[in-house]
Assembly symmetry: C5
Homo-oligomer: 365 residues x 5
């Protein structure tokens, strides 16, 4: 066993999450399609207007081609991203190949684009993984066209859109009475609202960690601080560009955006700005906590030093006195006095007590 | 009792205020209505113009419906926020449902909005809690419409508006002679003025803490530094967005804002900018103080190290000399000399004194 | 005497200037008039044009009412700020009540305002207090109207305007030949020029402190660093807003400002920008110095550790050898050899010397 | 061997890469031509339109003069930069001498320029040197004119343009069907895409380093941190200006840029902004890692201190007891008791065990 | 000799350059003329157009009055700044008195101004002083008027303009064929180019220092770090304002600037932006280096602690065993065994070896 590994005795290195660093740093949106192949694609379609609602499920993209210009508003949600599918759908609905490339990309920075009569938003839904205390992301593309919204998701098992599905089922809900841009707003709103839930979970972790740091500044706490700081990077990386995304929609003069919907996007903007502020607060609290950790570690070391100092001081006179009367000189005073031993042991006890009292007064112990 | 808890011996962990971290970090404006149910709503109405003043108290929101277009300016102050009430009032006075949602929200970032002929300000009144040394906030919504101002408060027991109430009672006060936007200004002005009172209290705490750090750099001081840094987050989170809020009012071209009132909002702007500067100064002072704390802790440790060094040096010759003359060799010089003992003990005293003198000169002690 | 106060033995706590923190942090411009009552008001009036100059002294504000529209340019300097006076003067000269409030306020952030035909500047004159090594400020309000400049000062005993007074006495000086805005420029120019004198004094203190830190990194030096960092807050707080103030004058399109005077205000702007840069440099130097201080403190501690290490190493063999030959076994080699004692003492000397040599080589001592 | 060099025992100083500092800091774009003379210049020419493609190789710049206004689009790639050549080519193709100077310069900051009907981009291709763990750069100039693109490279042995070469060989590729600006886009796109590959390599190094820091915080890890921070400087220095470069192309209103190409440059912009964000994340991770390193070093030292404290405490009673019963008094209790020795040795064992138990409880060990 | 001065033993305090702090911080551009009187003024005049060149030397400013409106372009370089001269020249050539004041000022921030038909640039030429490792500056004023450029330098012994002088001597050089603004550009270009030479020298110092820090982290290295950080202040103070200066020239719409010269000023702008970036990189490297220094100092201290720990551990059993068998009990086992001594000494050797082995395994040594 090599001495280079000694920290392993103390800390299980899984604690530090070096694999997580890999995931956070290896973000390359330019490489060709690296997702693992999707076995089946799940497509759900909501065709609706104020009075009608049709909900349908498909598993071939060709089945949704009818949704173009058929009088109703269509929300086509495609779970599972496959190169052929995305390209076919984009070709059919007049979505530029560059956008198709963005939809297919992994790990891209959130962004908004208007290309040839289509408004495109790429961002991530965030989920909090309780087991790993990590922030997971699922990329979502929202394409707003004339009378349709197409959403592309990576993971068929989860999304944050159920409240919209419920509202679509209610004929008197606003989303049924407004054009497609209101549906687009509703989706973005839910994604941003969900950021707060994730941050709340993360905030609980931060609070727990702070309590641990306060009570017991072990290296494990430092490992946890390091881990959480990585999650804050994920958070910041997702929130700041979404702020720009929403601001760009508000500034946009696209025909696809009804003037009456603007105030709704402003409402989303309020929330995303607050999320950005809050993630800044998280950083401040983490900085404060790390300072506190370092301080507590030092405090612990100072305690050890003080113990050593006390023991050293107590030892000092006893050792010297013992040495003095252990010398082999012929003539040593008191050696033949029957109280000599007791006097010397008394001094051994008294002097350190006296020293401790002086040191106490000066505030050292 | 586990060794993991040793810091508890030294520090009561309440000192560090980890619950406060929870309050500061768990800020989610997107969730549905989480306030505890309000038992009774207190409504006060001031109807006034230059010559008339009617003051009334109600406890049902329906009672204030008459305040719309009745010739006088109305200030309707609603203490206690209840979903049904807010929605009813908003519907009656033509306030957009999104604004109703903002009024009902908790922990929202201060913001200003103009929606359909209404100017809406959401911000927090701050109070200083002396017992906890914490900054408390109460959300307040100010809705400025044509001839009315409606304010929604969370807590019926306190607000900062008494000076306005007094001025309204005086027929010759400016607020009586000007349109409703002047009343709106007066309310914002008082809220911002109150920030300074809160900062003054906080400043006193900072000063006391600095004195504690200077005199006695204990871990308790570090705990207090950590706590105050959290309160500064609350402060910053409230002040910076209010600066933008006031700036947005000044830039606004709403019909509701009389041109003559602009300079009054500029006066509020001066103050909020100064509050922002000042909170920045607080941060600088806290940083300085933390540096000082760390320095004083190190200083203390250095003192302990010096004591150990001194004792070590004093012990050194005595121990060695004692050891030398305690050896059992047959031939040891001076052993049979009757002054031998005294000479050796003299050396034990003289050598350390000499060493200390040398070390003193070199500045170690 | 409690151990909590031990630092007092080492440091006189006045050194840290916690009272100064109070002065710096307790800045509230919103409270009512808190100046101590002024006993007498000193008013000096300069009425001038290119050919005439009248200098007069009054002590009642009513005496200067004649200075409005009497054909000459008037500089009315009022030393001592009294509520009634300021309000009377403002009413007479058409200065808006909000500006009167600003004149009366304490500790306000420097600002510039144009209200109803009057250009108003509020800023601070700085003085360096040698005894306290602190930056003192005196608030000054400069009101530029059509053909008059009114200045309000707090302290009758000092200001920085004597060079302007001299130039006014010279008929051929520029200030006599130009409109009132040139006088206003001259006053601001002198205030800003004076900032450099204050910074020079502060710079000397910084340099002295650096020398102290270099030679002797005692806690006293750290206390001084803490104090100077507070003064830099005062400096920054005064300089940055004045930069904006002057920039606002340059951008202003007020009729009161002659086009030919603009380049003079640009000259002031150059200087205030440089002052801002310089105060940034001061911060950098202070940061560097604190790093150096911490380094030197560590250096001192390392020296102490080295002494302990040396003594420990020298003691080691002597103690062990003494112990070995002090044991009471029947058979101990060399015990009966007459050179035994000398050999063992020789080893006690030789081994540590050998150890020291090895350690020296490895760079430890 | 001087003691000043002791660190060399511990660390091979090549680890710290001081030569790399030289390369990073000595960046002077203003000096005259310092490249080592190029022996041979490699020129490749692609002349193409939708239907035709001619690929040719030359080694004299005069041979490509025919590429001007011959009806096809030309991509002239010149590997190896020689003053005479660059000046001749620039003169022939109407490129301003200032641009010729930029092409010849070394180490210049990436920039974009439009001078007299030519659009000029200067930036660096990055490569990751695995052996040195360093980011290497090769300057590339891209000149877009009417119907031609000229690229100047320093190193004939490598570039990142092979994918473009392949696409040019396919008649139905977009690059064949569009004007020269699309070729220019394709080149920039590949350069930026390659940044991600380099960052991925660097990210792997960071991750490996983190694992090393976690497991074994040796000075070698600190040396590696220092090295990687230098590479991050190189990264930042290349990425941020390229962001401005691409933004300037998008804003440009040059005739050379087809309106339809704009969205492609926006795609490059998305990627370069993401690269900038990511390099910011790298910095954050490195900061976190350095904090962790320092913490682990302190942890190690605290362990050593604890061992010393334990040994000191265990020694304390044994030394004192040994000294007490080693004194030569006539009357020492128990000395003649046959269990005396065993009792004293028992105490020597029992007392430290008792002490350790107390200290354990208080969390010191 | 007082203990307060102990650091002097270790460090020659000249190393820290506190005088340099004085020079850097005491920058007051507002005081009256503080240069030491100039004994003689050196004036060189270049009158030129495309076909003619006259070079002349004078020592009285009146001699150059003829250079106004005489058909040729004049470059008047005045070495040595004297109040009377500057004012006379400015009066003659129509340069505003405020600019004369700037020319006369010391230590002013670089700036550009257009006043009454004259374009004025004030900046510093930088030189690297090898002996002091400091950045020296010489203030230079460049006045561009219709057909003339006047430069004012402080130091007659050096400037950076020789390459321009050479080019002026060549009839076919661009500077001879263009208006006066091209000469102005050439001068600024040379000043900025020279910044890179100075930075290169400074970069070499930084690299040398890094090598010293890596090999031997003595307090001398820390002193050098402190010094270099001061020089970086000088660098930043000169470079950032010059960037604004050049940008202001590019934005300017002065008649004095030919449209064709703009691209040349843009070329200077490229360089000054790169210089600004580079000086930022210098800061980063210095920060990294200081971290490394602190780390190496800690490393050294940890080594010392380890030696102490080793010695303490080796001593522990020997001291205790020696004490045990040195006690004077009647009954001590093994005392009369002839191998007793050797067994006990054997234990003294064996136990520490065993301990060391255990500690090694756990990574402490
Ligand atoms: Mg791994
Ligand atoms: Mg999904
Ligand atoms: Mg929302
Ligand atoms: Mg909502
Ligand atoms: Mg934004
Ligand atoms: Mg809202
Ligand atoms: Mg809790
Ligand atoms: Mg209330
Ligand atoms: Mg106010
Ligand atoms: Mg007020
Ligand atoms: Mg603002
Ligand atoms: Mg005011
Ligand atoms: Mg430390
Ligand atoms: Mg006090
Ligand atoms: Mg005064
Ligand atoms: Mg001035
Ligand atoms: Mg002046
Ligand atoms: Mg400015
Ligand atoms: Mg000037
Ligand atoms: Mg080297
Ligand atoms: Mg190449
Ligand atoms: Mg790309
Ligand atoms: Mg691509
Ligand atoms: Mg940009
Ligand atoms: Mg893309
Ligand atoms: Mg000096
Ligand atoms: Mg010169
Ligand atoms: Mg140049
Ligand atoms: Mg050049
Ligand atoms: Mg710029
Ligand atoms: Mg160039």
């Amino acid at each position: 066993m090599s001495p280079r590994n000694y920290l392993r005795y103390i800390l299980p290195d899984a604690l530090f999450g070096t694999e997580r660093t890999k995931e956070i740093l290896h973000v390359n949106p330019t490489v060709e399609y690296v997702r693992k192949p999707v076995e089946r694609v799940h497509i759900s379609v909501y065709n609706y207007n104020e009075s009608t609602l049709e909900v349908e499920q498909f598993d071939r993209v060709e089945d949704v081609y009818y949704c173009k210009d058929h009088g109703l508003i269509s929300w086509i949600n495609i779970d599972g991203i496959r190169k052929e599918d995305v390209e076919a759908v984009c070709a059919h609905f007049g979505i530029h190949p560059l956008l198709a490339e963005d939809i297919l990309s992994c790990n891209q920075r959130p962004k908004m684009d208007e290309v040839e009569g289509v408004l495109y938003c790429l961002l991530n839904m965030l989920y909090f993984n309780k087991d790993e205390s990590s922030v997971e992301q699922e990329q979502i593309s929202v394409v707003l066209g004339r009378n349709f919204v197409i959403t592309f998701q990576e993971d068929p098992d989860r999304d944050v859109f159920n409240p919209v599905r419920e509202r679509l089922r209610m004929a008197n809900s606003k989303v049924r009475q407004r054009p497609a841009d209101y549906l687009c707003y509703s989706l973005l709103d839910l994604i941003v609202d969900n950021y707060f839930l994730v941050m709340e979970r993360l905030g609980e972790k931060i609070e727990d960690l702070e309590e641990e740091v306060v009570r017991n500044a072990t290296p494990i706490a430092m490992a946890r601080i390091t881990r959480l700081r990585k999650e804050l990077i994920v958070l910041k990386r997702n929130i700041l560009p979404v702020r720009d995304l929403v601001a760009a929609i508000i500034r946009s003069e696209s025909d696809l955006l009804d003037e009456r919907t603007e105030k709704y996007f402003k409402d989303v903007y309020d929330h995303i700005v607050q999320a950005a502020d809050l993630s800044e607060n998280y950083r401040d609290v983490m900085t404060s906590m790390q300072d506190l950790y370092i301080n507590n570690v030092n405090l612990k070391m100072n305690e050890v030093m003080k113990v050593m100092a006390i023991v050293t001081c107590l030892l000092a006179p006893a050792t010297v006195i013992g040495g003095i009367f252990g010398m082999n000189f012929d003539v040593i005073p008191m050696l033949h006095n029957k109280w000599g031993f007791f006097i010397s042991v008394g001094l051994m006890l008294f002097i350190p007590l006296f020293m401790v009292r002086i040191f106490r007064r000066r505030g050292w112990f």
